[in-house]
Symmetry: C2
Amino acid sequence: MTDYTLYYWPAPFRGQFVRAVLSYAGCSWEEAGFDATSIQRALKPSGQLIPHMGPPVLTDHRQGVHLSQMPAILAYLGDKYRLMTDDPVLKAMCHKVVADANDVLYEMTRYNGAQFWTDTDWEAFRPRLQRWMEIFEETGLRNGLTAGSGFVLGTESPSLADLVTATLWGTMTDRMAPLRQMLDTDAPAIAGLSDRIMALPSQAELCKRSEALYGDVWCGGQIEASLRAVL
Amino acid sequence: MTDYTLYYWPAPFRGQFVRAVLSYAGCSWEEAGFDATSIQRALKPSGQLIPHMGPPVLTDHRQGVHLSQMPAILAYLGDKYRLMTDDPVLKAMCHKVVADANDVLYEMTRYNGAQFWTDTDWEAFRPRLQRWMEIFEETGLRNGLTAGSGFVLGTESPSLADLVTATLWGTMTDRMAPLRQMLDTDAPAIAGLSDRIMALPSQAELCKRSEALYGDVWCGGQIEASLRAVL
């Protein structure tokens, strides 16, 4: 029996954070696939595995439970596989990194595709994306990332925050290559951290498999097409 | 010395969830006020108390730390004041409720004011708002809310999820009265729960004080004006 089933789109976007953690923790999981994910999402809340607006949804078969909301799923897996420290402040910092990453995903997709990118809108947004990169960079710098051993990012043993940061910036700049230069300039320590995490066997294998399965898609759909057009 | 300082706008919106928890936990806090919040937000990340894109920011004076991101602040306070169970699955459900609430705030403000409401857009969104209400309702029903003692919502002693749910739906439908009927219809158990939580002395006092300080404002700004116009 597999440990988990993940309901998510065939894309390395919000659900990829769950995949990254499951991979790192050495768990087995099945992808429910596009159709099952789509059907779940469309059901009335009373008929859903867990009432939710959108995927990811994760079924933990051993516990017999369904979870939704990326930050909640990550908090659950992070506790279960001890990817977060017990220190309350550092733990809150870890939750902050997850929430920041979730916000970046919203903004990069103009709120899950509520609008499409135009050249004008993208130019107006660019400084804000740079600021997000600086926010991650500064969070790393203040917490020892470049001083050898960090305590939020760049921890001795990769933390949930490390996996989330690498999945966010590593995957984004891999799929949207013109953004890599911005990351190297505005968040060099984060760029380095992302590279190191993405080179871990579990993450390199996930990355390779994701490319084989999803091609160069990131968030997918018309919003991705408009993003590629402005880039 | 006060326990906390909260940097947030003079409005009962995202920061109100932090106020609700601090009030319930019996903590003292100072509001930094509009100017200090505004200055903090505008600083380069390297100059901010904690690198962040927007408020709320909470300073815990006893610990000498600054926290940002509403879900992260609530996770911190929820652990500290034991407003979350230790059961991993129920804890994940609690994080899910917080993440759902945060999404509802984004959507009601069209992503923090990125767009304004028009009649057409509001009509298109209404079923989605109803669905959010049903998601909360179903989450309550499946977890014993109407069966006497719930284990996620309507717990014997109010949980973080209860405070968050009441702050979301109670404050929204109080400030935007036309939405109360929708809540009563689509999420009657949540409407009842919100009323009960809002009637707790700590929450009633906060509510009264917020009305005195902020008037009938909810999210504020042009986005609130456009929301009132379509309602």
